[in-house]
C-alpha cells in the first residue's frame, strides 16, 4: 500500500520527522550544536582496551547493516570516528535531497558500497516556470563519478534532474547489475536514451518514467528489451508522449511473468488495453492509457471491457484515463471494490458519471481527481471512502478567474467523512475559515495540508475576513503537520500562528501572502524543524531574511522570488555564512548593478559554489 502511494505522489517527500541529511552530518561535527538535533560530541571514543579495533569494527559492521533508516544511520555515524567509518562502509542506500549540497567526489569518498542513490535537483518552484531553463541539476557528473566508484550500482531514483541520453548510455554501460531506474519530473532525454537502457540493462526490474519530459526520437524502445523472459516488475511510461509499438508491448508483457505495475501512455487505446489485461491478470497497479478509441466508428463486436477488468482481481491501483470516453467508464466496476488508489486527475468527469463509480470504492486510500467532479462528487467520496488517507483535487481550468466547481462545501464534506485523512492538496476558487477549521478539528492525522485558493488575495468568501484563522487552526490542531502550503488573503497573524504552533513543519510554501517582515520572522524564529521554505510574491525584505541566519545551515533550501530583498543583504549573508551558497537568479539581460533581487535560492553546501552555473545565475 505504502509503495503504491509513494509511486503516485507528486512531491511526496520523505516523511521522516528528523531529517539528518547527508551534508548536515558532516557540518554538525564542525559547527556549534543546535537545538533541533541531538548531537553527540565527536570527541567521545570507544575504549578499546578489551578488544582490538578491527574486531570491534567487524562486530559493528554486522550490527549496522541492519539499520535501514537514514535518520538512524546519520545518528550512528555521529557517535565516534569508528562508528562513522563502519557506517560509511555499510550504507547501501544514499539519499541526497539537494544535488548541489555536495560534490559527487565527496559521495564516493565517504560511502564505498553504495547500491542505491536517490538524488533531487531543481527546487520545486522551477516546475511553475519561475526559473529559466538550463539552470542546472545535471546528472552527468554523478553518473560519471559513480561509474568508476560503484560498478555494483543497482538503483537510481532522480527527481527534477537534467538527464541526457548520454547519461543513460553511460549508466547502461557501467552497471551490469542495474535493476531500477526511476525518473520523476526529469528532462533532457528522449526515447533513444530509454532504448539503450531497455536494451542493455538485462536485470532491469523497474523502469518508472513519471511526469518527465521525454522527447520523441522515434525510436521503438519497447522492442529493445531482450527477447528472453524479463525481470520486469514495474514499467511506467504514461508520460512518454510518443506512439509505441503495441505488438512489441504485448510480447513484452507476455514474457514478463513478474510484472505487477504497468502504466501505459495515451497512445494505447481501449481495445489494446483489453488485450493486454487478458494477458496480464496478475497486475496490481494499472495505468489505463487513453481509455478511448482512436478510430472513428466502433467495430461490430465490441470487446467486453468489463470482463477484462473482472479478470484482474489483483488490481488495487488504477490511473490513466488520459482521453477518457466516459461511456466506457463503467467497465472498471469489477475492480472498484478492491481499489486502494485511484487517479482520475487527467479525466474530465462530471458528478453524474463519477458517483456510480466511487460509491463502490470502499477501500480507497488515495484519490486524485479534477475539480470537475464538483462538491457533489466530493460529498460522494466523503460518504463512501472512510479509509481515505490522501486526497488531491486539481483544477480542470487552471486560471485565476475561472469558475471553480469545488468550494468549502466539498472540503467540509471530506473533513466530516474522511476522518483518517493525512494528506490533502485542494485547488479551489472559494473557501471559508469555517471549513478549514472544521478540517483541522475533524482530521487530526493530517501531516500535509496544501490549500490553493486560485484567485490571489481572496478572503473568506462568506465573512470577507482573511484566511488567518483557518490556517491558524490547522497548525494548532493538526499536531502531526509537517507540510503546509497557504493561499488566499493572509495577514501577519497567520504567520504568527505558524510560528507559535507549527513546531513540526518541515516544508512551507507561501505565495502572495503576509503584510510585513514580521510574518517571515515569526516563521524563521518559531519553526525549528523547517527544512524547505519557498516563498513568492510576498512583502518580505532584508530584515526578515537576516532574522533566519541561525537556521539556514539546518535547512535544505530557501527560495524567495519577487519579494523585497536587496543584493546587499544577500551578499552580507553569503559573506558571514561560507557554507551557504547564495544564488541570485535573474534573466540574461539583468543589469549587474541592480540591487533588487528577483529570485533568491540559497542552500547549504559542503563543497562550495557549483561550477556549472549558467549566465543568469549569480553566486554571491
Amino acid at each position: 500500500m505504502t509503495q503504491d502511494r509513494s509511486e503516485m505522489s507528486e512531491d511526496d517527500d520523505d516523511q521522516q520527522s528528523s531529517p539528518l541529511d547527508l551534508p548536515s552530518t558532516a557540518i554538525a561535527s564542525s559547527s556549534t550544536p543546535n537545538k533541533s538535533r541531538n548531537c553527540i560530541s565527536s570527541s567521545v571514543t570507544l575504549k578499546s582496551q578489551t578488544f582490538p579495533d578491527h574486531v570491534l569494527e567487524n562486530v559493528l559492521e554486522n550490527v549496522l547493516q541492519f539499520l535501514d533508516s537514514r535518520c538512524d544511520r546519520n545518528a550512528a555515524s555521529l557517535v565516534c570516528k569508528s562508528w562513522w567509518r563502519v557506517e560509511a562502509l555499510t550504507r547501501s542506500e544514499v539519499f541526497i535531497g539537494n544535488c548541489y549540497a555536495l560534490s559527487p567526489a565527496r559521495l564516493t569518498q565517504r560511502f564505498k558500497r553504495v547500491r542505491s542513490l536517490v538524488l533531487k535537483g531543481k527546487p520545486r518552484f522551477a516546475d511553475f516556470n519561475l526559473m529559466p531553463p538550463d539552470w542546472g541539476a545535471n546528472f552527468a557528473p554523478w553518473v560519471s563519478t559513480m561509474a568508476k566508484a560503484y560498478p555494483w550500482l543497482e538503483k537510481v531514483d532522480l527527481k527534477r534532474m537534467f538527464v541526457t541520453d548520454d547519461d543513460l548510455a553511460l549508466l547502461a554501460d557501467s552497471f551490469p547489475g542495474f535493476k531500477e531506474l526511476i525518473l520523476v519530473c526529469c528532462e533532457g532525454f528522449g526515447t533513444s536514451g530509454i532504448a539503450i537502457v531497455t536494451n542493455k540493462c538485462r536485470k532491469l526490474k523497474v523502469l518508472d518514467l513519471i511526469e518527465s519530459e521525454v522527447t520523441d526520437d522515434e525510436v521503438d524502445w519497447i522492442s529493445c528489451f531482450p527477447e528472453d523472459v524479463t525481470c520486469l516488475e514495474s514499467l511506467a511510461f504514461d508520460c512518454v508522449e510518443a506512439p509505441i509499438n503495441f505488438k512489441a508491448l504485448e510480447g513484452l508483457v507476455a514474457r514478463s511473468p513478474f510484472l505487477k505495475k504497468l502504466r501505459l501512455n495515451r497512445f494505447v487505446s481501449l481495445v489494446e488495453l483489453h488485450r493486454l489485461l487478458l494477458g496480464a491478470p496478475q497486475l496490481t497497479s494499472l495505468g489505463t492509457g487513453s481509455f478511448s478509441h482512436d478510430e472513428e466508428p466502433r467495430s461490430e463486436q465490441e470487446p467486453d471491457y468489463a470482463a477484462a477488468f473482472r479478470a484482474c482481481k489483483s488490481v488495487v491501483c488504477l490511473s490513466g484515463f488520459r482521453e477518457l470516453m466516459p461511456e466506457y467508464l463503467p467497465a472498471i466496476f469489477p475492480v472498484c471494490a478492491n481499489l486502494t488508489s485511484l487517479n482520475f486527475s487527467y479525466a474530465n468527469i462530471s458528478p453524474d458519471m463519477f458517483k456510480p463509480i466511487i460509491l463502490n470504492c470502499h477501500k480507497l486510500q488515495v484519490f486524485w481527481a479534477l475539480d470537475s467532479i464538483c462538491d457533489e462528487g466530493l460529498q460522494a467520496v466523503a460518504a463512501t471512502c472512510k479509509e481515505l488517507r490522501e486526497l488531491r483535487i486539481f483544477p480542470f481550468d487552471p486560471r485565476e478567474d475561472s469558475e471553480g466547481p469545488v468550494s468549502e462545501l466539498g472540503l467540509q464534506a471530506i473533513s466530516e467523512g474522511c476522518r483518517k485523512l493525512e494528506s490533502i492538496l485542494y485547488f479551489c476558487q472559494r473557501m471559508t475559515n469555517a471549513a478549514v477549521i472544521a478540517m483541522s478539528e475533524n482530521c487530526p492525522e493530517l501531516t500535509v495540508f496544501r490549500l490553493c485558493i486560485m484567485g490571489r488575495h481572496r478572503p473568506d468568501h462568506v465573512t470577507g475576513k482573511p484566511m488567518d484563522e483557518g490556517f491558524g487552526a490547522i497548525v494548532k490542531n493538526c499536531k502531526k503537520l509537517t507540510r503546509l502550503a497557504v493561499s488566499g488573503l493572509l495577514t501577519d497573524q497567520a504567520f504568527r500562528y505558524m510560528g507559535e504552533y507549527g513546531k513540526l513543519v518541515r516544508t512551507l510554501s507561501v505565495a502572495f501572502a503576509g503584510d510585513s517582515d514580521m510574518a517571515l520572522r515569526h516563521v524563521l524564529e518559531g519553526c525549528p524543524r523547517l527544512q524547505k521554505l519557498e516563498i513568492r510574491d510576498s512583502p518580505f525584505g532584508d530584515v526578515a531574511l537576516r532574522s533566519g541566519m541561525h537556521r539556514y545551515y539546518n535547512m535544505r533550501f530557501v527560495w524567495m522570488s519577487a519579494c523585497s530583498l536587496s543584493k546587499g543583504c544577500c551578499k552580507d549573508i553569503a559573506r558571514v555564512m561560507p557554507n551557504l551558497v547564495v544564488e541570485v537568479i535573474g534573466s540574461d539581460d539583468d543589469d549587474d548593478n541592480r540591487d533588487y533581487v528577483e529570485t533568491l535560492y540559497m542552500y547549504r553546501s559542503l563543497d562550495g559554489p557549483r561550477n556549472d552555473a549558467p549566465k543568469f545565475v549569480t553566486i554571491l
Partner: protein
C-alpha cells in the same frame, strides 16, 4: 467600429502592465476574448469570454506560474471538446475549385502550424505566411472557417483552443473573395 481597436488597446495595456514574472517569460492572455476580424454591425457586442464572470474591463493577464499547476498537467488535461463530441472533433474542409470535400479531426492537432501542414498536404497547396493584422500573404489561398455564430473568420486569428471549440467547418478560399475579410482593407 472594428474590434481590432479594442485589441490594440489591450495590447498596449499589456505592455505597460507591471508583471511579476521574469522578463521574457510571457504567459499568453487566455481570457478568450473574441478577436473577430470580420466587420461587425453591432459595435456594442460584448467581448466574448470563456469565463462567465467576465466584464467589459480588460481581462486579467495571467501571472507566471500561478496557479501552481505543472505545465505537464496543464497540457494533458482533457479538453472540453472531448466532452461534447465524445470521439474527436470532425469538421468538413472544402477548397474552392477542388471536387471533393474532406473531413478532418481537429483533436489530432495541437496548434495552427500542424493543422496548416496537414491541410496543405491534403489539398496540395501552400498557404502563405500569416500576419496578425493583414492575414495571409504570399498565396492565393486563404484558410477560413465558419464559427458557432455563423461568421466566416480567418484561421489563426483566435487562440487555438477557442478556434477548436468554435469551428464548425473550414473553407480554403481562393483569391478575390478573401479581401472582404481583411481588417479595414
Amino acid at each position: 467600429m472594428e474590434k481590432v481597436d479594442v485589441y490594440d488597446e489591450l495590447v498596449n495595456l499589456k505592455a505597460t502592465e507591471l508583471r511579476l514574472g521574469l522578463p521574457g517569460t510571457e504567459e499568453t492572455v487566455s481570457c478568450g476574448k473574441s478577436n473577430k476580424r470580420a466587420l461587425l454591425d453591432d459595435t456594442e457586442k460584448e467581448i466574448e469570454s470563456t469565463g462567465k464572470n467576465e466584464t467589459a474591463s480588460p481581462p486579467k493577464a495571467q501571472i507566471v506560474g500561478w496557479p501552481p499547476v505543472r505545465s505537464y498537467r496543464k497540457n494533458n488535461i482533457q479538453t472540453k471538446k472531448n466532452e461534447s463530441e465524445g470521439q474527436g472533433n470532425y469538421v468538413k474542409v472544402s477548397m474552392d475549385g477542388a471536387p471533393y470535400l474532406r473531413k478532418i479531426d481537429l483533436t489530432m492537432y495541437k496548434q495552427y502550424p500542424e493543422l496548416m501542414k496537414s491541410l496543405e498536404n491534403m489539398f496540395k497547396f501552400s498557404v502563405g505566411e500569416y500576419f496578425e493584422r493583414e492575414g495571409y500573404k504570399g498565396s492565393d489561398f486563404v484558410p477560413t472557417y465558419e464559427d458557432k455564430d455563423g461568421d466566416w473568420m480567418l484561421v489563426g486569428d483566435v487562440p487555438w483552443e477557442m478556434f477548436v471549440s468554435s469551428c464548425k467547418r473550414l473553407r480554403i478560399m481562393k483569391g478575390s473573395e478573401v479581401k472582404g475579410l481583411g481588417s479595414g482593407v
